[in-house]
Structure formats: C-alpha cells, structure tokens
Symmetry: C2
Subunit: 198 residues, 2 copies
Amino acid sequence: MTPVTAAERSDAARNRERLLLAARELIEQGGAAALTMDRLAEQAGVGKGTVFRRFGSRAGLMLTLLNDSEAAFQARFLFGPPPLGPGAPPLDRLIAFGAERIAYVLEFGDLVLAAGDASRGRFEVPAAALWNRHVEMLLREGGVDSPEPWLMAGSLNATLDPERLLHLIREHGVTRERLAASWRELVTRLVISAEATR
Amino acid sequence: MTPVTAAERSDAARNRERLLLAARELIEQGGAAALTMDRLAEQAGVGKGTVFRRFGSRAGLMLTLLNDSEAAFQARFLFGPPPLGPGAPPLDRLIAFGAERIAYVLEFGDLVLAAGDASRGRFEVPAAALWNRHVEMLLREGGVDSPEPWLMAGSLNATLDPERLLHLIREHGVTRERLAASWRELVTRLVISAEATR
DNA sequence: GGAGTAAACGGACCGTAGTCCGCTTATATT
DNA sequence: AATATAAGCGGACTACGGTCCGTTTACTCC
C-alpha cells in the first residue's frame, strides 16, 4: 500500500535522529549559543546542506526542539485541569495562562529566544496564532467585548514576549513572581473594566 | 583652554560626517536593507574598522540616524502642545502617545527595526527607559495605582513593539488607525478599571 | 536482480556583522 | 619646528547563517 504522503527515506530518517541527538548534546554542553549549524553538522556526521534541508533554518531547528514541550503546554491550557484548563472562570484561566507562559519562557529561555529569530519574525510562529485565539476567547468569556478582539489579544500576548521577559529577569533581576503579578494585574483590570461598563 | 572632554580629532569629525552622509544616501537609494557595513565603508571612503569604531554596531548606527527624529518625538510628548504634551487629561495623553508612537514606527519602519537588533536586546535602547517613565507617570496620574508601575508601563510599551506593529501592518494589512484604536481601548480600560475600584 | 528516478546528500561558496592589530596622523608640548 | 603620544585608521581575518549544485543513494517498477 502506497502511503498518501510519500514516506520518508530511510537515510533521511536516520539523519534526522542523528541531528536531533547531536543538537541536544551540544545544547546540554554549552547552551543554545554553542549550537551553530556548522558544529551541528559536524557533530552529527552530516553535511551542512542536510541540516538546512531538514529544518530550514536555525530557528526552525529550535522550533523542532521545542515541539514536544510546546505541545504539552498547549494541551494543558486546552484540555488540562483548571485553573489553566477549562472549568475555571475566564479571569482565573487568563491569569494562569500568563503565569505558565512566564514559567515556560524561563525554563527554555535561550531556546525560545533562538526560535524567534526566524527571518520572517517571531510572530509567524504557528503557536502564536493559537495563543492569540485562546486569549481572545478568554477575554470574550470574561466580558471584554472588544471591537477588535484579535488585536487586543495580540497586545496582551506581546506583553509576554520572551525577549522582554528574559531581559527583565536577567538584566534587571525581576522575579518570575513579580512578572506573573504584573500580568495578573493587567488582565484583572481589563475584566474589571468590562464589568464596570456593563 | 582645554575642553573637559577630550575634543574630537578633526579627521574623526570629518569621517563621521562622511559616514552619516553616505548612510543616508544608501538608505535613500535602497532602503535600510541596502546599508551594509562594508558598503557604507566603501561609499564613505573609509576603512571598515572606522565604521565600527564610530558607531559600535549596525544597530548603533541606526540609532544615531534616528537620533534627531527621536529627540523631536521626545520633545513633543514632554513639552509639546496637548493632547500629546502636558495640559491634557492623562488618558488623552496616553492615547496620543500610542498613536504617535505608531505613526513614528510607521514612518521610520526599517530603521527602527534595525536599531532594535542590538546584541544586548532592543530594551537597552536608552529611549525605552524614557517612554517607560512617561507612561508610568501618565498611568499614575490617571489613577492606575499599580504595585509595580514600572512593570505595568513596560507591559504597555511592549504592546507598541515595532516588530509587532510592522508585522501586523505589512503581513496582515492592519491599518494604523486600527492599531491606534486598539491601543486606545487598552489604556482606556485600564483607566476605567481604576475609576471602578476607587 | 537491473534500470530508472526522484529524493537526499555534502561541502564549497557567498554575504554579513564584528574583531584585531600594525600603521598613520593630528595634536600638545617644548 | 621637532618630538612624543595617543587617538584614529584600514583592511585582512573570523565566525556565522544560509544557498547552490554536482554527486550519491534509497526506493519502485519491470
């Protein structure tokens, strides 16, 4: 039986495994900065062209490396237990969403940063569209009836920009808790404003 | 009389003029993308090392090129006529501030983008600290008593991130007016929330 | 098994930002 | 005017991300 999508050639599959393994090794040793495309190719015993054929760009590679944890994060806010997942009041879910994003950025810092370096900008990340829709939905449920909910949600998400968060943490010593509290204040005020004008 | 700060050597001054002139020429011809450090050095008839000695980095050069217009912008919101400058209600000034920033980013698009590429991140831009303080002040005057006004102001400014704005405009066809309206809605809701909890 | 073919491969190559260091020159001092 | 010196200069050099294209190889069909 011929597969609908052409099957991956065996050498391609083998090289993908090698590359992913080598990438994780390099990062474990020297952080994301130590992962250059040349070194990766060498470490994996593969030509440089192969690396780019596989992942498109350095940012694409980082995205692939983050894929699992990103999927897990998405599953948690889409289907997981409250307050992050469904079942809790929208404001609580919004607050939890921000706190979890901050924790996520903190955990994978450099990787997330490097993943955002795609030439077409860090707003092309497919996941970003999902976060936007999620925040948009929670805002609407929270009574924040915006004429342009998509833009409003985008504004809120811009607030969680990894570069900004990491800059505040690393250069200004701001703690994760303070960032989460600031996010909480922001979204709470929005919901309050919706209640006030009802 | 010896100047307090060592005077600039005459050849250095001459080269600075040459470089700035050449930079504006290159940008006029082919946009910011056409300004590479090698080309700039060649066009100005100086060595590459001189370019970097003068401006530190490509981002530093862009910052220098933007210096005048940035100073003008600052003067307008600090001392200019209302509603941007002092004299108008804080909410009106906030709204105007966002609208003007958006217009600014739109006008100098690529330059602003390139200026944010500094290795140490686009939050080191000295001007950013000023915008933050300004927004912080307007929030306080508007009754938004935040436990961490600095972070709250930073969040709002993150919303005006040039990369985000330009992405929305260029890739999604969002107009300046819609962006300004979204900003207006955001800050208005914050002020409303302050009034509601008074 | 052999031939045909499209996918995958590899590494030389390019353009870029940024560094380094031996040389040059403007300026201050006498 | 001669000298000293530190600021300035230039361009070869490096590291990096990304592209290109001639060559190799896994799979398919007979």
